[in-house]
Each structure stands twice: as C-alpha cells, then as structure tokens.
C-alpha cells in the first residue's frame, strides 16, 4: 500500500515537473509578453498543483497544508498574471505582429 502511494506520488511529481518544463519552454518560445504570461500562468498552475499532489502522496501527513497552498496558488496565480498583462498593455507594450485584433486598444482609442 505504501509503495503504491510512493509510485503514484513519483508519477505525479514527474507529471508536474513536465508541465513546469513545458511552461519554461513556452516562456522562451512564445512571441510576445502576453503569450509568455499565458504559457507561464497555466503550466505553472497545473504543474505546481500536480507537484503538491505528488508530495501529498509521499507525505500524507502534509495533505491539509498542501491543499491550502494549492488554494492560495489558485487565487493568487491568475491575479498576478492578469495584473502583469494589464500593466504591460497600459504601458503600451506592443503585442506580436501576428496578433490579429486588439479590441482593447481600439476601445481605449475611441473613449477618453
């Protein structure tokens, strides 16, 4: 039973690390700041959650604390990403030339 949990924990850790790796790859490969934030936010959220789940399997006693860490992560991670993206857009960081539309730019142009 214990070894089964250990195997599951190890698999979860590997899966989490893989997503984190892909997130890192995304940071390098994506063409502009907005796409990089996307890759960074999503991959790190699931990657970290899977890692936490893996640790919970290896140390069942920590489960509740890990659950709390996961919750805080779910609340704060998207928030910081959104604020970063907004700050970038407000300071007029240009999106990649491949960007098809920027309705935010147009709306603000029409308004004040």
């Amino acid at each position: 039973m214990t070894s089964l949990l250990a195997v599951l924990g190890g698999l979860l850790l590997v899966a989490g690390a893989s997503f984190l790796l892909l997130g890192g790859l995304g940071l390098v490969r994506m063409p502009d700041v907005y796409n990089r934030i996307q890759a960074g936010t999503k991959a790190t959220t699931l990657g970290t959650l899977l890692t936490l789940a893996g640790v919970a399997c290896l140390h069942p006693g920590w489960t509740m604390k890990l659950l709390l860490i996961g919750l805080f992560l779910l609340f704060t991670n998207p928030l910081s990403s959104q604020v970063l993206a907004r700050a970038a857009h407000r300071s007029k960081v240009a999106p990649t030339a491949a960007t098809e539309v920027d309705l935010l730019d147009e709306t603000k142009g029409d308004g004040a």
Partner: protein, 170 residues
Amino acid sequence: MNAMPIGRARNAVALFAMLMLIWIMLEGSVAIDVLLVGAVASALVTFVQRDGLPIVTEARFTREAAIAAVEYVGYFLKELVKSNLHIAAVVATPSLPVRPGIVKVHTRLKSRTARVLLANSITLTPGTLTVEIEGEWLWVHWVTMEAADPEEATQQIVAGFEHYLEAIYG
C-alpha cells in the same frame, strides 16, 4: 449600522468558520489547546473584519448555490487540465501555431466578487488571459483566437463559468 443584523451575524459566522477551518488545516490537529488558540484568533479577526469577506458575503446561502459551487469547482478543474494540455501542445509543436488576439467579452454577473472569480477562471482556462476589466466588459488575450466578435467570444469564453457563478452569486 444595524440595517441587516441577521445578514451580518451570518457573515460573521461564515468568516469565523472559514478561519477556523484554515487554522485546523494548518495545524493538522484538533487538540483542545489548538482549537482554543484558533478560536481566539479567529474571533479577533472576525471582530476586526466585521463585514465579512466579500467572497462569502456576496454568495447566496441556498442549496442551489452550494450545488453550483461544487459543480463550478469540478468544471474549473476540468478546464484547467484542458488548458494546460492545450498550451503544452502549442508550445511543443515546432511551428508554434499561435493566433493571438485581444477580444472583448461581456458578462451578466453583477457581483464584484463573481466578476473577479470569472476573470481569474478565464485566466486559468484554455488559451485565455484576462487583461482588463471595466464594468461588465472584460478584455481577454486569446492565444488561439477563434472568434473576434464579442458575442461569439463571450459564448466561447464566458458562458461556461458564468452559468455556475450566476447560480452562486446571482
């Protein structure tokens, strides 16, 4: 001040319960001394933050809302996994098939907390990132844009979460 004494008492109790739960989760024990310290600390915080936390106070306290909350969490986790596989596939494809764009979507949600939760949920789901919120409009960065039209984009990005959040926050 005492316009809604029942509502305020309910909010205080909800906040106290939430703080106690977090305390017990952090301590990992329900020994009497642990509970006592937690109760004192939670009561103090509840007293300072008498109006409660909006995430709790703006929610409806009905059976339907509770069911919707559970469904929302399930739907959210499903979307989170989908989102990661989606981004992972994009990143791992040599040609990097992105089609980025910032689209404008509309929400029917009135509660500020519900709007925050919606914006956060959008950020964590397939290829979308909330950039700006103003009133009932959200501007969303979309890695693989499928629709520029606000109506269609709203349908694709917002509708799923809105359905549940509306039931919880009205």
